[in-house]
Symmetry: C2
Subunit: 211 residues, 2 copies
Amino acid sequence: MFDPSELLLYACTDRGVLAGRDLLQAVRQAIAGGATMLQLREKEASSREFFQLGVAVHELTAAHGVPLVINDRVDIAQAIGAEGLHLGQSDLPVAVARRILGPDVFIGVSANTVALAQQALDEGADYIGTGPVFATGSTTDAGAVIGLEALAEVAKGISAPVVGIGGINAENAASILRAGAAGVALIADIFGAADIEAAAAKLRDVLELKK
Amino acid sequence: MFDPSELLLYACTDRGVLAGRDLLQAVRQAIAGGATMLQLREKEASSREFFQLGVAVHELTAAHGVPLVINDRVDIAQAIGAEGLHLGQSDLPVAVARRILGPDVFIGVSANTVALAQQALDEGADYIGTGPVFATGSTTDAGAVIGLEALAEVAKGISAPVVGIGGINAENAASILRAGAAGVALIADIFGAADIEAAAAKLRDVLELKK
């Protein structure tokens, strides 16, 4: 069952920013710090590696009641019984993923305009990820910075929850909620931090104050 | 419905050996030449590209009654309604793919020993791909050449059909059938040929003579 309040502090993994540190340990620290949702993103791994990692991460997230979202791969989400799937614009069409997954897995979609977001919702999306709100160095396919006003436009223009992504940190996280988003999605400011648990905890504090 | 006789001339796509030539046109030519099964293998494409290509290729194969097999991606196979799925040893486990796909999609698995092949069959595979039988330059993950005797051992050691792969051409294709295989899987000698239709037709002739 999808609970939009769990989008509040949405931690997205990236092996690059982990720079060789153990992914499972990093996820454990992010959850200990207060991450409310976890996305596993593996663009380079083989299907077998993604599956095995997904099983291990899911065991961890499930034990803490944190929903696990798989990036891109519908089959990996199915294979490990993930709670959610996140689709970018170069992934499977939302309607196709919804048809395969049925109603029990929630689906998030990256969309930067009200029109794209509404289309995704019409095809079966449950939440929208909008960004990059601020400049970011984490993903190579992030696109042009859209800013807080464009985020607010999407958040106000659709009836589903929106999560802001891109260049978010403890200093600007509150502005994302003020723009009408249900939460913040972060890669670098959590998994690139020297102390992952402390970074997540600081973000969670900021977000709780502004809720 | 899986028909082992359709493994006879199994053409596997590879953008590399096509060297920029149109994939749909190449598939059309392979089918015109007598390919009895078609595998779509896209290791570099985004999910969206793989899906869109799969839809187009499936339209073509279905019009000619040739089964389409998707390499690796269970979700792409589901999304386009492919007849088959092929799994390597670094793809999803066979049992997981079978659970997701149900009984209506046939599954092939790469396995080079009787033990690995039998395990795949126990998990739900319908056919086994064994090789590289001969030296090949087509795939970087092909592993060490196993030779005709190892192929014969697998073919005789299991009850399911085996297809030989790796370095097969019109000169050695008959030896693959004599070793007990149900067919030959080829990349380079079909899709790397200057005249794809003629290359497929020559192979088909050789195989029909030795059946």
